[in-house]
């Protein structure tokens, strides 16, 4: 079997201590929470840390709770199963329950954390391979090489954002709380992502995610997440669509946010969607327009399962379906009862 290389395992009790350890050990250290992505990547030589800073003993990044006036706190250390099954999440944010519940398999959702999924390493069929394979094909920009094998002229790595939960939390206007030795800061989650397959997170390496706030203002938004993948089990998204709408009492759309995943190195906000969706009832015409706009900004490449032209074409279909679900099924607060799959 593929062997897990030797490493030193450090188990701090606080995020600040973990962050200090990461800062001190520098590039040779990595944080690990559920480990469902880290350990396989170490076996394949994609991650080569000498030190692993475990977040397993840390308590302060746990918890899932509603705080009146502040919103819903989702601790980064909560498992995907816990998030998907949480009562408030299921009632108010079915998109999040769906996204968390659609990550990989049940066993891995019981181990993997939502923090891990939000910051999950970008993926690419040229990168997510064993050392032997990458050696045979030739190493790439993201690890050990100096060329992008997807698009040899590209100066940046084109590995794909493969988080299911990031687009949903982005569509809900979530704020991230980051902790380091110097204290903590709260920033819009959106601002943490960069469209670069290698430097895909706009944060310092030692900054750790404590959790996210879904703000009070997002309660009452209708929301949905649809995921495209080959199998209804197991697979990473090759396209994900998160949509959230705030409807007024008169039936017009007040506010809207459509975010795509797996079409770039960062979650892709469809910037123009609110322009066509807001200030009017959501109808077939506005849905079609929004879906068309989404397809235009969707740029899948030939580095994941299913043809890229197909994934691009599906962007329109999936955005249409997501918006339709929000306007037909969801009359109650929070939208569809059951998590759409």
């Amino acid at each position: 079997m593929l062997r897990l290389p030797d490493f030193t395992y450090i188990r701090p009790r606080t995020l600040a201590a973990a962050s200090s350890a990461l800062e001190e050990l520098g590039a040779e250290a990595m944080a690990v929470a559920g480990g469902t992505d880290v350990y396989p990547k170490m076996k394949r030589g994609q991650f080569t840390p000498r030190y692993l800073v475990s977040l397993g003993q840390v308590e302060e990044h746990r918890g899932l709770r509603r705080e009146e006036g502040r919103g819903l706190w989702v601790g980064a250390g909560e498992t995907l199963s816990a998030v998907a099954g949480h009562e408030v999440v299921r009632r108010e944010f079915p998109a999040l329950a769906a996204a968390a519940g659609l990550v990989s398999t049940l066993q891995l959702r019981n181990a993997g954390t939502i923090g891990g999924n939000l910051f999950v390493d970008t993926r690419c069929n040229y990168y997510d391979q064993s050392f032997f394979w990458r050696q045979a094909v030739g190493f790439c920009l993201k690890k050990d090489g100096d060329i992008c094998l997807v698009a040899p002229k590209s100066r940046v790595c084109l590995a794909i954002c493969s988080s299911d939960t990031a687009p949903v939390l982005s569509s809900l206007g979530a704020e991230a709380v980051l902790v380091s030795g110097q204290g903590s800061r709260q920033v819009p989650l959106d601002t943490l992502y960069r469209d670069d397959g290698i430097d895909y997170l706009a944060k310092r390496p030692e900054e750790l995610l404590q959790g996210v706030w879904i703000p009070e203002a997002s309660f009452g938004w209708r929301n949905v997440y649809l995921k495209l993948r080959r199998r209804g089990s197991f697979d990473f998204p090759v396209l994900g669509v998160a949509a959230a709408l705030r409807m007024s009492a008169t039936g017009t759309c007040d506010a809207a946010k459509v975010v795509l995943t797996a079409v770039a190195s960062a979650p892709k906000v469809v910037e123009d969607a609110p322009r066509v969706l807001c200030g009017r009832p959501v109808d077939t015409a506005s849905i079609e327009e929004a879906a068309e706009l989404a397809m235009r900004v969707s740029h899948p490449l030939d580095n994941a399962d299913m043809d890229y032209w197909y994934r691009k074409r599906m962007t329109r279909v999936y955005v249409t379906r997501a918006l339709r679900q929000l306007t037909t099924a969801g009359e109650t607060a929070g939208g569809p009862e059951a998590a759409p799959a």
Partner: protein
Amino acid sequence: MSENGTKKRSFSVIGSSLPRIDGPAKCAGDTRYADDIVMPRMLFCRLLRSPHAHALIHDVSTRRALELPGVHAVVTGEDVPTKFGIMPSTQDEEALAVDKVRYVGDPVAAVAAVSEDAAEEALRLIDVDYEVLDPILSIEGAIEAEDHRIHTWNRRANIQKAVSFEFGEVDAGFEEADEIFEGTYFFQGNTHLPMEQYCALATYTPDGKLTLWSSTQTPHYVHRALSRVLDLPMGRIRVIATPVGGGFGGKSDPFSHEIAVAKLAMITGRPVKITLNREESFYVHRGRHPVKMWMRTGVKRDGTLTGMWFRSFLDGGGYSSYGLATVYYTGALQTVTYKLPSYKFEGVRVFTNKPPCGPKRGHGTPQPRFAMEVQLDEIAEKLGLDPVEMRLKQVVEPDSVTVNGLRVSTIGLRECIEKVAERSGWKDKHRSLPRGHGIGFAASSYISGAGLPIYWNDMPHSGVQIRADRGGGVTVFCGSTDIGQGSDSILAFAVAEELGLQPDDVRVFTADTDLTPVDLGSYSSRVTVMTGNAAIQACGSLRERLFEVAAEVLEVPADDLEMEEGRVRSRSLPERGLGFAECVERAEARFGTLGATGSYRPPRHPGDYKGAGVGPTPSYSYSAAVVELHCDGDTGEIHIDKVWIAHDCGRAFNPLWVQGQVEGSVYMALGEVLMEEQIFRKSGVHKIPSILEYKSPTTLETPPIETILVETDDPEGPFGAKEAGQGPLLPVIPAVSNAVYDAVGVRIHEIPVTPDKILRALDQRLKEPTVPDFAFPTPIRWAPGQGVEVPQKS
């Protein structure tokens, strides 16, 4: 009393759905697979594999690797240069490449070290001087590259084997036709993906004897290959097949890793083990051949077939493996389902710089069956006929000989077709479901064991020894290999039935070349029929002695005796009897130690032309399937709603096990038709050698399956049984394609049928598959009436 089992009105064990004898250990985690074996002083082996698809090897230097602490030995091609291969006439494999590598993953060197980590590190210290050559990666590329050869032993560059036959008068057949249909088809390659990866362990003891434990389907053929390559007499080699965690054909060849650990054990004098990882299993492969096909069929207006001309082009990968048989199999079984008066077949297998293809469930027959059943569906459509009715009108007759000289004994195809049509509500649904919903039908046949052994000989294909214990227990010895299909349980059931015992009373000892008589292996769906018959014969021989003694004790004639409920008793006076154990004691006192043997060799078939060896079998199994699905017109996604499948298994030894085999076949077929692809980058590297990215369905994607077992009581089968492990895969694949047409009106002539292909087809942008130009040899001609007269039973 029949030679194929006691003639009884009812069976006591056969036909009951008792659990398998290996079930408790597997459920309790107690089964010891190859990788569970640990020995004192054991070393670990890793193989250095080629990163190039096609390259010459100028030098391999192991000096730096040997200097690494913990490394005990390193071997290269020079240490094991003798070529081998499963088929005697195409021995073109080397355990470790000598002067050339032919695919990415081809083994070049092997290390034995104190740990897997040390062995892996040592691989990085082996220096190989490669001269990289252009890889050949397509069938067309192989045919065209006349000056650029992958192998040198074959006559025409990159052509492993080209065959050509004409049975009956095919021109006349087409002249007689009212309509002629032509189509091209492509069946993508895919791999077996068993849960258990390859693993082998070898010891070489001071007495000069080698023992190899391996997860293999064919210990006998591995035994022969080890003897050849290691230059050791077979008598000094023992091969033990460990319980196999899934094979599906992928563990039927002798492999580099088996030879490597054996050689390293001989050099180091220590046990050496190797377990391949999942990625390596994709390189070892031997899976489904990608096949391009062309089929022309002539029919009368009522759908009656008048002639067929079929061409297959097989992408074989880097070595021959079973390819010689595979190319014949792509043309062999078209004739055994529907009456076909004339038939022409041309097939060619080419070498390419990809992992070698070989046998996978259905071996060479799912590809042509896909082409044929899709074409028949199109013919029915064009002629305005119901595809089920059209086929029912021309089902092959029992006890008949096909145009290519195959002897069909029993055939339950009609009943299979009628049952799936009835249960699925075919008549009400076909062409009547709402748009997006569809139903498709197909039927097929498969062999119950190859009629000929891999190497030419006159010996039995399967041998069984039984031994009766004074305490009343019975032990069965057989070289057969349980790969999860239940062959150990089959032996226990057959012996229990014959001797009036319960399966629990029978101890089964299999797959050990030192202790068990030869069985050729778990391939070609041969084991139930062949070991079953051998076991019945052995039991019959033992029973004669027991009856001789019992007749005296009970004072009844021997021909009035039967073995039932643990007793030897009189049929006419059932209260007159004695217990099995007592009978054994008395017989042992009379005759000495009690044991008996039985063996089996399949009957001949009429065909006597060169190439007639592929296709014959003791009996053909038949299957029919109906698939109902719906297809999303916007996304092209297919959701299978239900599969109805009927299978003529001759007789169900155990309905539960047969159902398991049928469901497993349906599941595997759905993977092949919907998503699985063994595909490569332009450099020849496998695109997706992982269980995450090589898409295969999981339990969650598996639809409801309704299995219908049809029993035809075949005279050649043990208790009337035929195969069940492979045949049921065949009809599902074309039935899905036909159902897609019924749902959304597009014909997809290639496998897998993926969402993007459906959208392309709906946009009328999907190109038909192509076939290359190729000059086939002059056909061998044969017609029924020629050939040997054979009795209908062996």
